[in-house]
Symmetry: C2
Subunit: 226 residues, 2 copies
Amino acid sequence: MKHSTDTKERLLDAAEEVFAREGYRAASLRAITARAAVNLAAVNYHYGSKRELVEAVFARRLQTMNQARMRGLAQVREQARAAGRRPSPRTLIAAFVEATLGQDRSGPGERHFMALVVRSFSDTDRTVQRAFENYMKPAFDALRAAMTEALPALPAADLWWRLQFTIGAMIRVQHLALAADTAANTAPRTPDAAAIRLLIDFVYAGLSAPPAAPSRHPAAAQGELS
Amino acid sequence: MKHSTDTKERLLDAAEEVFAREGYRAASLRAITARAAVNLAAVNYHYGSKRELVEAVFARRLQTMNQARMRGLAQVREQARAAGRRPSPRTLIAAFVEATLGQDRSGPGERHFMALVVRSFSDTDRTVQRAFENYMKPAFDALRAAMTEALPALPAADLWWRLQFTIGAMIRVQHLALAADTAANTAPRTPDAAAIRLLIDFVYAGLSAPPAAPSRHPAAAQGELS
DNA sequence: GTCTATAGATTGATAGAC
DNA sequence: GTCTATCAATCTATAGAC
């Protein structure tokens, strides 16, 4: 081996960036290898195929990012237990959102990973869809378990939907941050702290709203909330 | 002209379906023309290029869909004015969400248009991004104007963000509905009325939450909401 | 491990007969 | 307006020299 580790790692960094910018399908191995300054054939030698390359890009960040989210939730639960009370839904959702969107990302390709996640959200390709699911599901399940404990009065189905709305709002924030960076032609940044703060307020209000009344007419539900 | 109208229209229907299922980039003109049962060269003859074809697909639905959303908002404002009160934020947001997600779509390609919109949300291609923007912006601005009137105490910047969170949650709902249809191998359907109802409750709670307090520590804001 | 060279397939677009 | 046939460009993947 000459610089195999270098080449292999540089390929991951370049792939993360190019996949994020161009999308999986549109990104060509030629663009990636050119960005990494390695030979085209290196992709096949080190990873076997384009598909396995993008899987490796996700796999590299997956564990770290999910652990950060789990740790955020665990800390809140621990502090609550130490104080002898139930974890508050607001601190739980704040920890989850901050761990997902607010993390400082300083590594070479690390800044591009969230861009890749957003792009993968509605990607057509099955490999990419599975990768997105692998990224989102463990943390979503952990959040759901924690919120079930924090909001015992809310039916499980309602909670599930509300957490899906939360995911959607989070993706939108990350997407807007990326679109702004693209328009300004700058490297991807973390969303503004102010936007994250507003997001937490918004989804907390939505999550902790009273369960829907079984009323027939939409207007009838108005009184209970306003 | 022999059946030029038929061919031109059938191409739009097929393109709407194939673009929605495969994504703009991955969809090939051969797949589209095969689905439409027309000759490959017909795309170039009737539309000029793949890019102009997808633009025509969006253009066909754009006006109708935006008018439906505008009309929903206008009706609410009119009813409120007739009753001599301010339009309630809940009925406004309900009208907007219903007009966007709850519309019955029975036309041949019409059912696939919302799938195309969701896919286009994070599409890499510039043409597709512009088309998505054209679809979303007029209705978003109308909603923002109406909500500004309905929530006069909320700072404009806060309202803007909260409406963006709302868009994100709406896209998530449509995306989940589509993913379920794809998994079940059925044609795209409108999201469940129950999910739409929960979505409206969620975003209404988030939109009408009190403006953020200028507190430094996140936990300090808890008291005002719980 | 890295390189050149190329196979093999697919694509968007178009020329030209009918 | 519709068709066949094909061009020219692009892509992933790989064989084989070094």
